[in-house]
Amino acid sequence: MSNEVDVIRSALPQARRPDRSRRVDVGGIEVSVVEWGDEMSQPILLAHGGFDFAGTWDLFAPLLAEQGFRVVAWDQRGHGDSDMAALYTWEADMRDAAHVIESLGTSKPIPVLGHSKGGGMMNQLAEVLPHRVGAVINLDGIPNERGFTNQVDRSDVKALATELNSWLDHRRKAGQLSRRADTIEGLAERRKLMNPRLSIEWLQYLVTVGARRDDDGWRWKIDPTLRFGPSGAWRPEWAIPRLRGLHVPYLGVIGTEKEEMGWGTTPDEAFPILPEGAEFHALANTGHFVHIERPDHVAAITVDFLERVL
């Protein structure tokens, strides 16, 4: 490990790289699976958000591991250290999640925790594999009727034309694209535009995990063909009524500060649609990345919940 990386990581001594890593074949491509904690402990599966990677759990996962959990996370296809795919869909990500659970070698239901997109995925996983999911913890991935914060208004002809055209233009050149090379500081500054509430020390740490060092500088590992949009056929109202149908202990945590990458769901919108008996926390002065802004608090809520429901 280079001195530069050591110095950056030493600024965040509470962050900890995983104890183990392995690769899981998800049907011709491999995803990277990482774990913190004793292999014999109670497993819990962590699903990261869109454009993130398993290393974004480096602050939060060790706290669960210290409390006696085997914390398992994976890089979604095209993200982090997982293989890039030719094609990407939500449904394929769901299948990959099921493969990761399968790789744990237990048929007992396990608790699952997801942030943002990962939270939405875990909601659905509890519906499609109810016999494998013992509890759901959703971190700022609870849908609302307006959709995502940055979703285009499809009734706006000009805005929709721009979105569709720019996505197709991106695809025309995507095969030749590579992520822009920069310094660690430069990549961290750029990420701050999308993660404005996170500290520069943390964002620099993330670069040392989620980017690789090439001859001309550091570049994010995420597949350069991936990008936002088009917003597609999916509608949030498809997911909302399904939440009430989950018959599994459920913990919802949201940040109340609206952010670019967030879903913007308010407490008033979130609580009524959660499964019956759900526990719900709306964290004041906290943005979309609740587990990064307040790792100790969110870990304490999570462990307390799991101790009661498992």
Binding site: A85, L160, R171, G175, G232
Partner: protein, 218 residues
Amino acid sequence: MTTTFLEHVRSRLALHELRDGHGHPLLILHGLGERSPSAIPEAVQGWKGPIFALDFTGHGASTVPVGGGYTCEALMSDADAVLAKLGRVTLLGYGLGGYVGLLLFGSRPTEINGLIIMDGPGLDGGGGRPTSPSLLHVSASDLDGSAPDPWALAELASDIRPPSYAFDHVRQIEMLSNMELAVTVVSLGRPEWLTAILESPVVVESDVATALSRFALL
């Protein structure tokens, strides 16, 4: 028939020129699980311009990727790669190809000279609204790299096609294409998305010959 290959994202797409001609090209988009026709379909014999047909990703002579992940939007971008090569075309799509053609027309409304929607496999997809979600499964022994990709068959027969989504695209055509009659529906099949777009004044029910003669003038 001559075949050229287009490098597009991570696919190598087979574009077949079925016949040369004068005027702008007709691009044929096949249905789900199909491949491009090797001869000119009877219905389009009257077209005077060049006639091309594209094999979508996972179909015909195009790349069969691993791991699935098919969407109609990805196939739309396959067809858009042909626009990048050929310029303005008239589209004729069978089944799935008709729906993909609509998405592309709505996304590139000034670059397409009309769309004809024919019956064919994959016209309905997974219907207009979601049913109970499930994890799709394809047997590993079926994944031998040959076309059509079993993942394409599974995923594109179950993707949800809300009428409002199709209508969003036809509205883009209405507002931006400068065509009075832009889409001709020939199919007998009437999935929800197709019924929805028939509400638009730029969509008409007619026959192939009438549509081709209209679009040839553009």
